[in-house]
């Protein structure tokens, strides 16, 4: 698979939120404003890319030779949790501006299953390092794209005449469903 194909496949066809249904929590939780959605997207991109590189190395050099592949889930969680903490510390020290802009979303990424999903799928599909990086970047760009799309829609929904019973979350869920169906249209592209 060409690298460009990997990118397109992860952003649109196999969008982690709208086609694979991972990371639904932040997708609905922080999609009230486009601004915060963008912040979350950037933070996720950062963490996903870094964590997939590290998990790739751990899988290849520690787990595989010792036949401990069954430990991958728990080890990857460990890596992600530690990494997020580390990134938070570094960011707090080196760029307080970005740190305060991302705010609470940074620690929240620990529990974002897109991060774990990307790491696990990379290993399962036997990607090499370059493919891993492209998958990670594509996956997080896809995540950011869907987050920004739904937040823009939800910003509009706030002032629209929504039936009372559907106000707030119900209409957001319906919107998410419709978006997912729309993304089915990319099927067959890759």
């Amino acid at each position: 698979m060409g690298l460009f194909t990997i990118l397109i496949s992860n952003i649109f066809v196999n969008n982690y939120v709208l086609a694979r249904f991972l990371g639904i929590c932040p997708f609905l939780g922080v999609s009230n404003k486009t601004e915060t959605a963008t912040g979350m997207g950037i933070a996720v991109t950062f963490v996903v890319t870094l964590s997939s590189i590290i998990t790739y190395a751990i899988h290849k050099y520690i787990l595989l030779p010792r036949e401990l592949v069954y430990l991958q889930t728990i080890v990857f969680i460990l890596v992600i949790a530690a990494l997020v903490q580390f990134v938070e510390m570094v960011m707090k020290k080196t760029s307080p501006g970005l740190y305060s802009a991302l705010g609470v979303y940074l620690p929240l990424i620990t529990t974002n299953c897109v991060v774990l999903g990307v790491a696990l799928l990379n290993v399962q599909e036997g990607n090499n390092l370059i493919e891993t990086i492209f998958t990670a970047v594509g996956a997080s760009l896809g995540f950011m794209l869907s987050l920004i799309l739904i937040s823009a829609i939800r910003e509009q929904l706030v002032i629209k005449d929504v039936p009372e019973a559907l106000e707030g979350f119900p209409i957001a869920l319906i919107t998410a469903g419709l978006m997912s169906i729309a993304f089915l249209g990319f099927n067959g592209l890759v």
Binding site: L68, A82, F86, V90
Partner: protein, 270 residues
């Protein structure tokens, strides 16, 4: 043997990451203002967000950084404000309780409409349609968007304009942020006399649109014994620090755009 290797690998990795993090936390240590922690201790810790900051930690940061007043926590009230002021070394007497006030009195009977609005009951939506249905482009639209966001039930829509109960208001500023007209402002709780009009139109236009707007006659400015009025863009504004609540301006105001809760003045106004 079977169990030994996975345990070592997992334990080893855990230990490695733990050690790495503890080293990193020393290496990347950021000095935190000790006052942040102290202020955080005396705040209620309910993380309600009424102050407008993300939780009590956020407010503690802002207070210690001088970005928020010591009495910013409306839930804790005076007791907490005093303690915080103590930590910050500020005189608590300086803190004045403020409440939000809607600066418009042009209700259904006093202000004229330019069209009949039948759309979504939301001021922001109405404001998009030629600035709302009121012929005065500064007035309260009365759809109650501020009422909807008020978490303390302090806002009521009376005769088509929003009225805030100052006893219930906690000055969380949610309504101020949501009002498309920007006519809600914080005013000291003790303030008895307020210019309840935001119109920058000329007197003639104000008269055409509303019977209780500020027409810019400057009678209040001339009669104020404390010289507490600021007059610009055809609108009188009271400097709340100079105002002594004597009520003379409200008494003299020909349109009663200056609202007063002083008893004598109110009787005359009616």
């Amino acid at each position: 043997m079977g169990i030994f290797e996975p345990v070592t690998v997992l334990g080893g990795l855990g230990l490695l990451f733990g050690a790495g993090l503890s080293i990193a936390s020393k290496a990347f240590e950021v000095e935190v203002n000790p006052k942040v922690e102290e202020v955080r201790q005396v705040l209620p810790g309910a993380n309600c967000g009424a102050c407008g900051f993300p939780g009590c930690d956020g407010l503690a940061n802002a207070i210690a950084g001088g970005k928020a007043p010591v009495n910013a926590c409306s839930v804790g009230g005076q007791a907490v404000a005093d303690q915080v002021a103590d930590i910050m070394g500020v005189n608590p007497a300086e803190s004045v309780r403020k409440v939000a006030v809607v600066l418009c009195q042009g209700d259904c009977h006093k202000a004229k409409d330019k069209y009949i609005y039948n759309g979504i009951a939301d001021c922001r939506a109405q404001n998009i349609l030629a600035g709302g249905s009121k012929s005065c482009s500064y007035g309260c639209l009365g759809c109650g968007t501020c009422k909807d966001v008020c978490e303390f039930d302090a806002i009521q829509i009376i005769d088509g304009i929003a009225v805030i109960d100052k006893e219930k208001c906690t000055s969380c500023e949610k309504c101020i942020g949501v009002c498309p007209k920007g006519i809600i402002e914080l005013v000291p709780y003790e303030q008895e006399v307020i210019v309840k009009c935001k119109s920058n139109d000329k007197g003639k236009n104000v008269r055409e649109n509303c019977s209780i707007g500020c027409i810019g006659c400057q009678i209040c400015v001339k009669n104020c014994p404390e010289d507490a009025f600021v007059f610009e863009k055809f609108l009188a504004k009271i400097d709340y620090e100079k105002c002594t609540n004597c009520g003379i301006c409200a008494d003299k105001c020909p349109t009663k755009a200056i609202w007063s809760s002083l008893e004598g003045v109110q009787a005359k106004a009616e």
